[in-house]
């Protein structure tokens, strides 16, 4: 599978996750979200950017429980809870946000 942005084609796996981490850019993230009918707001970007930083440091995408806890610590309790994160990413916060962040599916995600 592939996703097209500005006439350029980027390889993805069968679930739409980017095959090459290094292909990622802001426009591509927006295009992947649009395919899911989702407009990325600043609140979405906060989570997407957090995931990219986490991957950069630990070389894995965190499981949803780990993400929720870490977001709470970084951005405050009103954002570090399932309700807030599921409202932003209804298909599952870790799963969906990782996709837009160009990361593989989270470790501990089935």
């Amino acid at each position: 599978m592939a996703i097209e942005v500005n006439g350029q084609s980027f390889e993805t796996d069968e679930e739409g996750y980017l095959a090459n981490l290094s292909d990622w850019n802001l426009e591509l993230a927006g295009a992947m979200a649009k395919e899911d009918g989702c407009d990325l707001t600043d609140n979405h970007w906060e989570v997407v950017n957090f995931l990219r930083e986490y991957y950069d440091e630990y070389q894995i995408a965190p499981a949803v429980r780990v993400l929720t806890k870490a977001i709470g610590k970084r951005l405050g309790k009103e954002k570090g809870n399932s309700k807030y994160l599921y409202e932003l990413f209804p298909y599952g916060p870790a799963k969906q946000a990782c996709k837009y962040a160009g990361l593989p599916k989270p470790t501990g995600c089935v």
């Binding site: 965190p62 499981a63 501990g108």
Partner: protein, 143 residues
């Protein structure tokens, strides 16, 4: 494993992951670490042990750029985020390889019950102590 399953059997089982192989010559180390993280994500009570060449997995400043594989050494730093709090490293294995605790990554977890204070995860234990730890674990998985 669901919480209900754990509760119906009376108590949470303790899973001990015993890692015996050097990190980058085979897939065992990376796979073992991933399985442990997945288990921990599903709220298994996970304890890690490193013996034999497995102690090299925790060596600080690993660099795989010359062999073209992913440097998953950084991923051990995420164990604490997954609520893993205890890592046992066998003293004899370190000594035999000319290593000390100072050669290992300073892995920590944040103690939620103690104002998120960072606490060290690595415990150096003798072969005898490790034998007892293995004996007392409910489930032992070897990688």
């Amino acid at each position: 494993m669901s919480e209900e399953a754990n509760q119906s059997s009376g108590q949470v089982k303790q899973f001990l992951y015993v890692n015996r192989r050097a990190p980058h010559g085979s897939n065992y180390a990376q796979e073992g670490l991933e399985v442990a993280l997945i288990g921990a994500a599903f709220e298994q009570d996970v304890v890690m042990a490193y013996v034999d060449d497995g102690v090299f997995q925790l060596k600080s400043q690993q660099d795989t750029s010359d062999i073209g594989t992913k440097n998953f050494g950084a991923t051990y730093g995420a164990l604490g985020d997954y609520d893993v709090q205890t890592i046992y490293v066998e003293k004899e294995s370190l000594e035999m390889r000319g290593l000390t605790e100072d050669d290992l990554m300073p892995l920590v977890y944040e103690d939620e019950d103690d104002d998120w204070e960072e606490k060290p995860m690595i415990n150096i234990v003798s072969a005898c102590q490790l034998a007892e730890i293995i004996d007392q674990s409910d489930v032992v998985l070897n990688f």
